[in-house]
């Protein structure tokens, strides 16, 4: 494992479906950067899907919750900024 971030890592939740390429890309990116995340499969968890739509207004995945801030899609610059990644 490479070096840990200096500050505690914010909680990361990836709202995804198994058949979503961008979701897999985002999760692979987190693994590559040693970012711990929780994966929520909204195709199986309907209440999580409703919660995601209510909070984000989005009906598409991925939606990524980083410490309470929602990132829509696999927006790498935004993710890097929120997690302090380079």
């Amino acid at each position: 494992m490479s070096s840990q971030p200096a500050k505690p890592q914010p909680r990361v939740i990836v709202f995804s479906t198994p058949t979503c390429g961008f979701c897999n890309q985002a999760k692979a990116y987190f693994r590559q950067k040693n970012v711990r995340y929780t994966d929520v499969d909204v195709s199986r968890d309907q209440s999580a899907a409703r919660d995601m739509v209510r909070r984000s207004g989005q009906q598409g995945v991925p939606v990524i919750d980083i410490g309470g801030t929602l990132v829509l899609g696999f927006n790498r610059p935004k993710i890097d900024q929120l997690l302090g990644l380079k």
Binding site: T17, T19, G21, Q59, G60, F74
Partner: protein, 326 residues
Amino acid sequence: MSFDFALSAGADDNHYDVIIIGGGPAGATAAIYTARADLKTLILDKGLTAGALGLTAKIANYPGIVGEIGGAELLERMREQAVSFGAKLSTDKVQGVDLEGEVKTLYTNQGTVTARAVIIATGSMGRGQRVAGEDRLLGRGVSYCATCDAAFFRDQDVAVAGNSDEAVEEALFLTRFARKVYLLSPTPELKAPAHRVAEVNANPKLDLRLGASLREILGEDKVEGVRVALRGQGEETLAVTGAFVYLQGGKPVTDFLQGQLATSETGCLMVDREFATAVPGVYAIGDVLCNHIKQAVVAAAEGAVAGMSVEKHLNGRKQLVVDWSK
């Protein structure tokens, strides 16, 4: 909720010497050459009628084929030839890529695959202009991936715009979730294989509208309807909460690259004389280059050269090798 730290990328079954994105005449021919050179080859293709040759009714000037042949049939023969040499053909759509480094990663609807080399042969039937409301409502009911987002439309009415077998597949997939799926074909008939059209006609949740052009996606904060022009019958508005768009146009298909390869001002990929892009191990062929005559035989020829270029690159040769016959 569950933690997921599984590493799917890199597993042997999903790792290839070369992955070819697009199974048209360029991609299929490249696969014939790479598979015959004993390279583990995967072709990823959206569907037989997702590209220009598959949609061509008759072709009469392809060398060696005397008389007329349907474009889809010619393409099937090319693919069968590639498969006969060991290539694997998968109906799938690439959503994103990571092309840097020695191992290239491709994120598709069905999972993640990796390769030492990638050939981009995605053609030039990408969309240019969007319809009104589409960009504004993207992610708020507008989607380009039913397999990703269908779960959000459980028991709702949705519309699918398109006539290719990709559009048909996605519409059929949506019927598992949605209450009703309008399939809006801009042409008077679907450009999909007969058995797929039969499935559409037999599915009680599917409402097929032929000659129906998507004009506008309606709604303030989320999709509330679509405005559709019907050939010779004026317009109508359908109340839907989802709009899935699979329309085709005349632009090179490069959106899945997310800017990882440089393009010309007109959006075309750029290559050297061996069809290598600026990123080592990544090649591009066929209509996605859009700098030549759009003919199947030209695309196939480019596929042959690129197939040999990949073999040279992966085996560290200095020169192209033409004949692998034993």
